[in-house]
């Protein structure tokens, strides 16, 4: 009898401690912020957002460096950054390491951003431009200022892509406070940054947008590409609300800014 009692007391205490620890660790992982709701009760992500980091220069940690065009001096130098990759390591397969290096060495000619090509996912998120989320029940539209890139995230029953595309095919779902977006059918033509980090057409990205305060979201992207990486890896960063009065995306049709580079050599020789 006594033994049974003490056993059950011990068991009870153990359960309580385990529950407490679980609650504490849960708290440490995700601050229990509850976002304001849309009219249909979902976390309200509507707004204009922007990353504030140097991931577009290099996903990994990097010191400051001189800019790519000497004549521009310090005005366009590379800003330093801690990096956004979990563990700061991108697990390239041995065969892919050389390509990353050669990409980086010639980025000013090879980076699709230089030609104003559509940025793909996840790069669209951390380009140094704002983007806007327009949230409805059936679809969530994200319009990026850069190149007027756009995605429709289907919130209904998942659908299959009709074909590969620059911005991929996005199916979304809610997991509590988090918008989870599964992105497939991405073309191999986009890069992750100006440091030559790349992928193949086997790229699969799972994005997680989680409100962490009224004016910040946490953005996570798990990147999987068995042709290029030995395992899935993850980037994460806060996104900040553009809180200016009347904040708006403006036109940034950058095709025009790439034309001299692309077509300049085909100009008529100035004989007249």
């Amino acid at each position: 009898m006594r033994n049974w009692l003490s056993d059950s007391v011990i068991a009870g205490v153990t359960v309580a401690v385990v529950l407490m620890l679980a609650a504490m660790s849960g708290h440490a992982q995700a601050p229990a912020y509850r976002a304001p709701r849309t009219a249909d009760g979902k976390p309200n992500l509507n707004g204009i957002w922007q990353a504030l980091n140097t991931a577009n220069w290099d996903l990994q940690g990097h010191a400051a460096g001189k800019g790519p065009v000497p004549s521009l001096g310090a005005a366009f130098a590379v800003p330093p950054g801690l990096g956004v990759v979990e563990g700061d390591e991108i697990p390239y397969l041995p065969a892919a390491v050389a390509k990353k290096k050669s990409n980086q060495a010639s980025w000013t000619t090879l980076d699709p951003e230089v030609k104003c090509y559509l940025p793909g996912v996840p790069r669209a998120t951390y380009l140094p431009h704002p983007f806007q989320i327009v949230q409805s029940q059936q679809n969530i539209l994200i319009n990026y200022e850069y190149a007027d890139a756009v995605r429709i995230i289907n919130m209904g029953a998942p659908t299959k892509a009709p074909g590969d595309s620059w911005m991929g095919w996005s199916n979304g779902r809610w997991e509590g406070e988090t918008l989870v977006v599964d992105v497939t059918s991405l073309m191999e033509n986009t890069w992750f940054d100006r440091a030559g980090n790349f992928h193949s057409d086997a790229l699969h990205v799972v994005e997680r947008y989680t409100p962490r305060s009224a004016d910040t979201l946490n953005y996570e992207a798990t990147i999987e590409d068995p042709k290029v990486f030995s395992r899935p890896w993850k980037i994460s960063m806060p996104l900040y609300r553009r809180a200016e009065k009347n904040a708006t995306l403006l036109e940034y049709k950058c095709v025009e800014f790439a034309e001299e580079l692309m077509y300049g050599p085909l100009r008529k020789k100035s004989s007249n």
Binding site: N46, S136, N143, L249, L250, E251, K268
Partner: protein, 344 residues
């Protein structure tokens, strides 16, 4: 002005819009609006978004046979009768290739290279249709764009003269459309293009209406919070759009255009008012009024009846696949070189 616009919108909504299609046996998809319009007098109640705004969401196509301007022979006749429209539709559908049918803009239905779903993009001549009884998209007794003011004609002629002989000098002389900067089909106001890619997807969020044009992923996210236009110093190819709701109609006001995006010869003084009204589950009336005192003596209005479409909206990456500009310029350089050699 706006009162007249509203009145004509309402008038049009009351007209049994697509009734003739119900009569045409060849019509693959008979819009439910046609049935409603002919059978019931009950007013159609537009659905609402969760925010209580009229729900315009979905994928829409502005493909139609209705010509932009009214054929001269029709005079002041603004609407066809059901019988006339049925006959015209029949003629167009059965017409032999290349036949011109007065009062029809064949557009994408003209024979051309095929991309994918014929029906979806209006390539299939057997399925093309008029989406309203209007004889022209331009409304009113004239049914044509008012004559251009002399100063506007002079302005446009000077620009053309400047370009003459230099059309192939560099990319800068080529059109914005060819350069994939702003394709003709997505320019606002949005008019049916004689090409594929007439799809527009509307997504509404709290305080915003977004319009995604399939053509070159051109997107406008339009605020409805009553904010003013951006400062006049900021000029954009697609201007600056702000919106508001007037009953069931979404009204968009756009200014701040550049002088490089002339719409039918307009200048950067262009002021555009677009009105979106859903009149049936599968019908959306897009009406726009164009005002530019430096180009036309008076504002003019056109109206396009859009039809719900099953989609999907594809990604249209124009610039990324643009080999045309380089090919055109290279061709011009080769020709010049050949001419030079010949001259020596």
């Amino acid at each position: 002005m706006s009162r007249r616009l509203l009145a004509s919108t309402l008038a049009l909504a009351a007209v049994p819009l697509v009734a003739l299609l119900a009569q045409a046996p060849a019509a693959g998809q008979t819009p439910s609006s046609a049935t409603k319009a002919t059978t019931g007098e009950k007013a159609w109640t537009p659905p609402r978004t969760v925010d209580g705004k009229p729900d315009l969401q979905g994928i829409w196509s502005n493909n139609t046979l209705t010509p932009f301007e009214r054929p001269k022979s029709l005079g002041a006749k603004e609407f066809y009768t059901d019988q006339e429209l049925a006959d015209l539709t029949k003629r167009v559908r059965e017409g032999s290739q290349g036949e011109e049918v007065e009062g029809a803009e064949l557009g994408a239905a003209n024979p051309q290279a095929v991309r994918y779903d014929l029906e979806l993009y209006g390539f299939d001549r057997g399925k093309v249709r008029y989406t309203s009884k209007r004889t022209s998209l331009v409304v009113g007794p004239e049914g044509v764009v008012p004559p251009m003011l002399p100063e506007a004609r002079a302005r446009n002629a000077a620009r053309a003269a400047e370009l003459k002989g230099h059309e192939f000098d560099s990319h800068e002389q080529r059109s914005l459309s060819e350069r994939c900067i702003l394709l003709n089909q997505v320019r606002i106001p949005m008019t049916p293009g004689a090409n594929e890619g007439n799809l527009l997807q509307i997504v509404q969020g709290s305080g915003y209406v977004s319009l995604l044009h399939e053509t070159d992923h051109n997107t406008r996210v339009i605020p409805t919070d009553g904010r003013p236009h951006v400062p006049q110093s900021i000029r954009q190819l697609q201007g600056d759009s702000v919106g508001h709701w007037e009953g069931n109609t979404f009204v968009v006001d756009t200014t701040n255009f550049t002088n490089r995006t002339a719409y039918r010869g307009s200048s950067d003084k262009l002021h555009l008012v677009e009105r979106f009204t859903r009149t049936a589950d599968d019908t959306l009336i897009y009406q726009f009024t164009v005002e530019d005192p430096t180009t036309w003596a008076k504002p003019w209005t056109a109206e396009v009846s859009w039809t719900k479409n099953k989609g999907p909206v594809y990604e249209w990456a124009c610039h990324e696949g643009n080999t045309m500009i380089a090919t055109i310029l290279r061709g011009a350089r080769v020709e010049e070189e050949a001419a030079q050699k010949k001259g020596k």
